[in-house]
């Protein structure tokens, strides 16, 4: 595992007295598909938010290549080459699918207000190129022909795909997917699984995803990290993780229930 694209060290995120992420170390190899799993409330999305700058980690460091991300604004992190999707779809309502993708391209476009007002040749050709690229992306995610639909009028599955297209528009090196198959039926989930593979293979991406669908996680992932109660409790290849007793405990409950409960109360109190 040489040259991790993302490496987090001792990341802690506290909200007042509540510690949502407690000292997580995590590194993602370049070009891999890495998954982050864990029960609800384990702190997975909070960790995502720390990476993308929505939250500022209370302690610790998150490095993207050699660049420190903690303290950067979300727009700076996007500029650096990280894009994400959301657990509950957050497309720009009232804008068409194409416009959503064009907003995603924002950091890669240069034209300023004056160029737009005057319609300078540079601005015009940039807009044309951007539009063409947006059409290509639309086709790539399987939304060809839906470009002029308002985002909110697309079906659920298509909205998910549009969100990915919007994330791809910023030309990221690392793509964070927060539960990409939430609310999908088994067929759609299968499609999404192949799509995620295709993304990595064809677009040269590293993909880091949060997911509850174990079939998908175990099939596509090169590396699986497991979180529970804010801590990373296991990491490894899918088969290693599946055998790990702490993971089984987190998902299925421990045999010694009383002991676990006691421990958990302690954690909340701290």
């Amino acid at each position: 595992m040489s040259d991790p694209i993302l490496s987090a060290q001792r990341v802690i995120k506290r909200f007042g007295g509540l510690t949502a992420v407690r000292s997580v170390d995590l590194s993602i190899p370049r070009g891999s598909i890495a998954s982050l799993i864990g029960p609800n409330g384990a702190g997975k999305t909070t960790f995502f938010n720390c990476v993308t700058g929505f939250y500022v980690a209370t302690e610790g460091s998150i490095k993207f290549g050699n660049r420190e991300l903690v303290g950067l604004r979300p727009d700076q992190i996007t500029n650096a080459g990280i894009a994400r999707t959301y657990q509950n779809i957050r497309l720009f309502q009232g804008m068409t699918a194409l416009e959503n993708i064009l907003v995603g391209m924002h950091p890669r476009l240069k034209s300023g207000p004056l160029g737009s007002i005057l319609g300078l040749p540079g601005q015009r050709s940039e807009e044309r190129a951007a539009l063409r690229k947006a059409m290509d992306l639309l086709e790539y995610v399987g939304l060809a022909g839906n470009g002029d639909w308002l985002a909110e009028n697309l079906s659920y599955g298509l909205q998910r795909r549009l969100e990915i297209a919007r994330a791809l528009a910023s030309e990221p090196q690392l793509l964070l997917l927060d539960e990409p198959t939430a609310g999908m039926n088994p067929n759609e989930t299968d499609d999404m699984m192949h799509f995620i593979r295709r993304l990595r293979d064809e677009r040269n991406l590293t993909i880091f995803l949060i997911e509850h669908d174990m079939k998908l996680v175990m099939t596509v992932s090169d590396q699986v990290s497991v979180m529970d109660y804010g801590e990373k409790i296991a990491e490894g290849t899918p088969s290693e993780v599946q055998r790990n007793p702490r993971v089984i405990e987190a998902y299925l409950g421990a045999q010694n229930v009383d002991k676990t409960r006691g421990k958990r109360k302690e954690q909340v109190a701290s």
């Binding site: 700058g53 068409t96 737009s116 470009g147």
Partner: protein, 674 residues
């Protein structure tokens, strides 16, 4: 049979009617004639009240069939009529004027008894109420499309009647018929030649218009039947040919165009014909009323059909064809706006000037509120800054006289002259820049605020600016409560071309062109910004600020630019306002102006430039015309806002969905995947 809701709703309506009656509204509106010698504005109000109650109560029993609707409608209207009758009885029994002082000059009884004695008047009122209720019930039982046609044509006929004196001399009936004829010919020709390109169709329209123009000119001049007509007795056949060619071209362009332009053209046609009828009859008598009603009813019956056909023809064209159509239509609209003051007369033009200033401000506020979603309630501050900047820079003041008060110069006999005084043309860019900077200065501290908090802070900002201009400390610069007077009017000096070409833009006619220019510039800039990278960033921020930020949008920069551009537009409006009125006072810049601008963009449609224009016409133009209603202006705004929010939550003209995928097709062919 009788629904309990009928009594409840009828009582509500009656309460509203009684309250309004006690403010003396009937007496005030009785002066204004809608149909000469027959129907006054107060009768119209009474009809609205009675029918409104009838419609409300009848609509509650809609599923029970026509008899129930008639019955409950009559009952609802009767409750209102009875309420008003009761007020009259009370007014005659005891003296109400010590509480309701307005009744002293505008008593209710003489109006609502229709000049009869009290008892027979009340009987008449109740009979009329029952009739209104029955009409309401019947209206509800016919198809909704027919109902809309009836109500809209009644409303527009009433507005023509109201404006009789101001609009009577705009055009004659031969004018209107000639315009409609040529427009229609161009339209029909274009429909039959849809297989040809839009340029060919335009050419046909232009040619046919020109030929008709020559013929009409010859007939009119030869037969002397164009007397009094503006278009037909125009000086010289050449101008006639040009005008009619353009009208014919417009007809062919409109045959395949978007909804807004098509509807707008039909409205203009309707008004031209109505004014023609009015001009021919020379007053709003029964014949004119009936004819105008027929004109509008036909228009509204045709409108949905024709517009749907025209817009579907428009949609099926390839994009370059559409652009030819669109650009030609815009050109015509601009030309019409250019010559409009010559026809509209002083009074209507001055209303247009005011509407225009509000359009400029509305386009500016629309950038902050409509595009970016930043609720700014103190927008008048930027308007005031623009006006005061021009005011201080173009008059002798502390700033322009090198730090010496102009008054002191005279007294102390200092041989200084105020060399710093600028012309309007030098001052307005500074005014715009000052307003933009103020936008940024206000923007920085409030960047993190959202929604309500932002609204409150900006509301305060508006008041701060007004209080600064009012304060004694700044009196040497801003003139305190007296404001700044003697602001010179903008002068367009073209004497180097022709010694006679020196125009002072002081009159309503001349300033109109400056305002029109301002609207064109601001609308253009807003359109360009709105449809490119920055505009998309703004709309993304409005939709979801956090995600927009995660998309790599620099919120600080985007929001400050939004504030600055919006403020700059308001500054431009203020600069024109100050030099038009030649004097400015702190009290012209109250929070009511901000509220007005906000209300007009909400009613027009947030984020839509045509919406801003329509909103300004409705919210600024109509109150100017209905001067009697000045006291009820805010009440009417409130009612209008509620009605629009219920009926069309996105505003009257919502922003269009941008169909970008077509632009790709017309662009250069794809050069492989990026």
């Amino acid at each position: 049979m009788i629904a309990s809701s009928t009594f409840r709703q009828g009582s509500y309506a009656a309460a509203v009617a009684i309250l309004l009656a006690l403010t003396g509204v009937f007496g005030k509106l009785d002066e204004r004639q809608v149909v000469t010698g027959a129907i006054t504005l107060s009768m119209v109000l009474l009809a609205i009240m009675l029918c409104g109650a009838g419609l409300m109560t009848a609509s509650r029993v809609k599923e029970r069939g026509i008899v129930a609707m008639l019955f409950n409608g009559i009952l609802g209207s009767l409750i209102v009529g009875a309420g008003l009758a009761l007020v009259m009885l009370v007014e005659n029994a005891i003296d109400l004027t010590f509480v309701f002082a307005e009744l002293k000059t505008d008593p209710i009884t003489p109006v609502l008894t229709f000049g009869q004695t009290l008892s027979s008047g009340i009987i008449l009122l109740l009979v009329l109420s029952a009739l209104a209720g029955a009409i309401s019930g019947a209206l509800l039982s016919i198809p909704s499309e027919a109902r809309q046609i009836i109500l809209l044509s009644l409303a527009l006929t009433a507005s023509v009647g109201l404006l009789e004196a101001q609009i009577k001399s705009i055009n004659t009936l031969p004018d209107a018929l000639a315009v409609v004829g040529v427009l229609g010919t161009g339209y029909l020709v274009a429909i039959n030649q849809m297989q040809r390109s839009s340029l060919v169709r335009l050419g046909l329209g232009l040619g046919i218009g020109a030929i008709v123009g020559i013929v009409l000119g010859l007939i009119a001049n030869g037969g002397g039947f164009g007397t009094g007509s503006r278009l037909l007795s125009a000086p010289g056949i050449l101008s006639q040919v040009i005008v009619f060619a353009l009208i014919g071209g417009m007809g062919s362009a409109v045959a395949a165009t978007q909804r807004n332009i098509h509807n707008g053209t039909l409205f203009v046609v309707g008004f031209l014909l109505s004014i023609g009828v009015l001009n021919w009859q020379n007053s709003m008598n029964w014949i004119a009323t009936l004819l105008i009603l027929i004109v509008f009813a036909t228009l509204f019956w045709l409108m949905p059909r024709l517009t749907a056909e025209a817009s579907s023809r428009f949609e099926t064209q390839p994009r370059p064809e559409r652009q030819v159509n669109q650009r030609f239509s815009l050109l015509i609209v601009l030309l019409v706006m250019l010559v409009a003051p010559l026809f509209l007369g002083q009074y209507i033009t001055s209303i247009f000037d005011l509407v225009g200033l509000y359009i400029i401000m509305g386009i500016g506020l629309n950038i902050a509120v409509g595009y970016t979603g930043l609720l700014v309630l103190g927008f008048v501050a930027f308007f005031a800054l623009g006006a005061y900047t021009v005011g201080t820079l173009t008059t002798p003041s502390l700033l322009t006289c090198g730090g010496i008060l102009p008054a002191d110069i005279a007294r102390a006999d200092i041989p200084t002259i105020c060399t710093g005084v600028m012309t309007f043309w030098q001052a307005w860019p500074i005014a715009v820049i000052v307003s933009m900077l103020a936008g940024v200065v206000l923007g920085i501290p409030v960047l993190r605020l959202r929604g309500d908090y932002l609204a409150i802070v900006t509301l305060g900002f508006g008041e701060i600016i007004r209080l600064i201009t009012l304060s004694g400390d700044f009196k040497p610069i801003f003139g305190g409560a007296q404001g700044i007077g003697n602001i010179p009017v903008p002068v367009v000096d073209l004497t180097f071309l022709n010694p006679a070409w020196r125009f002072e833009l002081g009159s309503a006619f001349n300033i109109y062109y400056l305002i029109l220019f301002g609207i064109v510039i601001t609308a253009f800039v807003a359109y360009r910004l709105g449809s490119t990278r920055l505009g998309r960033a703004w709309r993304a921020i409005r939709a979801d600020e956090d995600v927009a930020r995660a998309m790599g949008i620099n919120l600080t920069r985007a929001k400050l630019l939004s504030f600055a551009v919006g403020a700059g537009f308001a500054g431009l409006g203020g600069a024109i306002f100050g030099s038009w009125l030649q004097g400015i006072f702190p009290n012209s810049f109250t929070v009511l102006v901000s509220i007005n601008v906000l209300a007009l963009i909400i009613i027009g449609g947030l984020g839509s430039i045509p919406g801003v224009m329509l909103g300004a016409v409705i919210l600024v133009g109509l109150p100017e015309i209905l001067r009697e209603l000045q006291d009820y202006r805010l009440l009417a705004f409130g009612v209008l806002l509620v009605v629009v929010m219920l009926a069309r939550p996105e505003g009257l003209i919502p922003p269009p969905v941008r169909r970008l995928s077509e632009q790709v097709d017309s662009a250069t062919p794809q050069q492989g995947k990026a």
